[in-house]
């Protein structure tokens, strides 16, 4: 399959990148790992006139804890993310999500920023960022701005990133004592899209009650979705079986799945309920809240 013709640019700096986007308003697309965009171009569902390749722009691949955040450069490859010792030791939710993105070959090229701003509801990292209360740093010629992950997704394939902007960094609040997070998804074997996925992030107070919680849902709505009622139902309570079950029920109601080859609405809601309970249990274990 051959994509439509396009002009290719390989800028050497972020300034040059933003300048190129400005010169081609609405006609240029940023190319990161290309693992979602190129298949869409081959199907001619995407026909950008100009591709602006980020691979030679320095300073977009990093993972570090700084100023209370885990900061991830947008061009960091997914394979790098899930193999990073810091991620494996302190952010197991990200390793879990990274490991279920496509396959290792795709992950060798696919980037964190691409997974976060492609805008397919089946992408796995958005739910993690929503659950953990993360932020996106979006850069334009006017400088960087920060958007909460829960506000970032506008519609399917539509995010807060404007035509003359680039997602440059994604941040999560730094993991602290009493915090635990996890990601689980159900997919048919063979690398199919998810039936559903759930990310959960819990912070427990010294008495073992939930002080903060966040839940994000994959593939059961027009975008990745927060499940705020389910998350709020946990606050002030111990993460015991009764409360996790209640949160699971609420999350299944907050999901807005569509019927497709992967299941009917009722089935997908049931999957969300079970995954929510299971992922909360894992997050609570990691937070140290379940004996």
């Amino acid at each position: 399959m051959i994509p439509a013709s396009f002009g290719y640019r390989a800028p050497k700096s972020l300034e040059e990148t933003l300048d190129l986007l400005h010169q081609h308003p609405g006609e240029a697309r940023v190319l990161a790992g290309g693992q979602s965009l190129i298949p869409l171009m081959k199907l001619r569902l995407a026909q950008p006139k100009v591709l602006v390749d980020l691979q030679h722009v320095p300073g977009l691949s990093y993972l570090r804890e700084e100023e209370g955040f885990l900061k991830v450069g947008a061009f960091t490859r997914v394979g790098t993310l899930l193999e990073d010792p810091l991620v494996q030791a302190r952010y197991p939710m990200l390793a879990e999500a990274g490991k279920v993105i496509a396959d290792p070959l795709v992950r060798n090229l696919g980037t964190v920023g691409g997974n976060l701003c492609h805008g397919d509801p089946g992408n796995d990292l958005p739910a993690c960022w929503i659950a953990a209360g993360g932020e996106m740093v979006i850069t334009s010629a006017r400088g960087p701005r920060t958007v909460a992950a829960s506000e970032f997704y506008r519609d399917t394939f539509v995010t807060a990133v404007g035509p003359e902007e680039v997602l440059t960094e994604a941040r999560l609040p730094m993991a602290r004592a009493g915090h635990g997070a996890a990601y689980l998804k159900l997919q048919r074997p063979g690398g199919d899209y998810s039936v559903a996925g759930v990310a959960a992030s819990l912070t427990l107070d010294p008495k073992g009650r939930v002080a903060r919680s966040g839940i994000g849902l994959t593939a059961v709505g027009p975008t990745a979705l927060p499940a705020p009622r389910a998350a709020a139902s946990l606050v002030g309570h111990p993460p015991d079986a009764v409360h996790l079950a209640e949160a699971g029920k609420l999350a299944s109601q907050e999901a807005v799945p569509v019927p497709d080859l992967r299941g009917e609405v009722e089935y997908k809601r049931a999957v969300v309920e079970v995954l929510t309970e299971q992922v909360l249990e894992r997050a609570a274990d990691r937070a140290g809240g379940r004996a």
Binding site: M1, I2, P3, A4, S5, F6, G7, Y8, R9, A10, H24, E27, L31, G34, Q35, I38, P39, M41, K42, Q47, K49, V50, L51, D53, Q55, G79, A102, D103, P104, L105, V106, N108, L109, G191
Partner: protein
Amino acid sequence: MTGDDGVVGGHGPTRRIQVTVNGTPRDAEVEPRTLLVYFLREQLGLTGTHIGCDTSNCGACTVQLDGRPVKSCTVFAVQADGRRIRTVEGLEQEGVLSPLQAAFAEAHGLQCGFCTPGMLMTATALVEGERAPGTDAIREALRGNLCRCTGYANIVQAVEAALRGHRPASEPKQSPASLPGR
């Protein structure tokens, strides 16, 4: 606007790239929309890299880009500018199969052979890597390579044999315990 700007419809302008393919520097003119696998097969004549699904699913087109296995149907040739590409043609050295290729032959790690170039390129990265993966890690690493003959067991055994430093070509046939049992 310069010559490499977008033209829609018909043939767009080309762009000069320099890549190193199996150790040999190559200069070429490519259209930006030319996928790496078509560049390798049609412009360089390296037809060992197969096009299976052409939809980023099957991994038959796997090559190494700067040492990491990737699906060459989902990379534009222009993205490889300045980079090292290794294809299945680069595995054999002076007529001698690589240890992994020899292990595939020995362990019957191929049936129809269509997926084999991709399997070899993914597994070569594993065999040449710093870690010593176990069976589960080998299977996980090969998740992106599909074998429609479903010959996975022997493929995994071939990779295990190569990881043990098994050299079937220079050893008596029945000696290693790794031979596919049946």
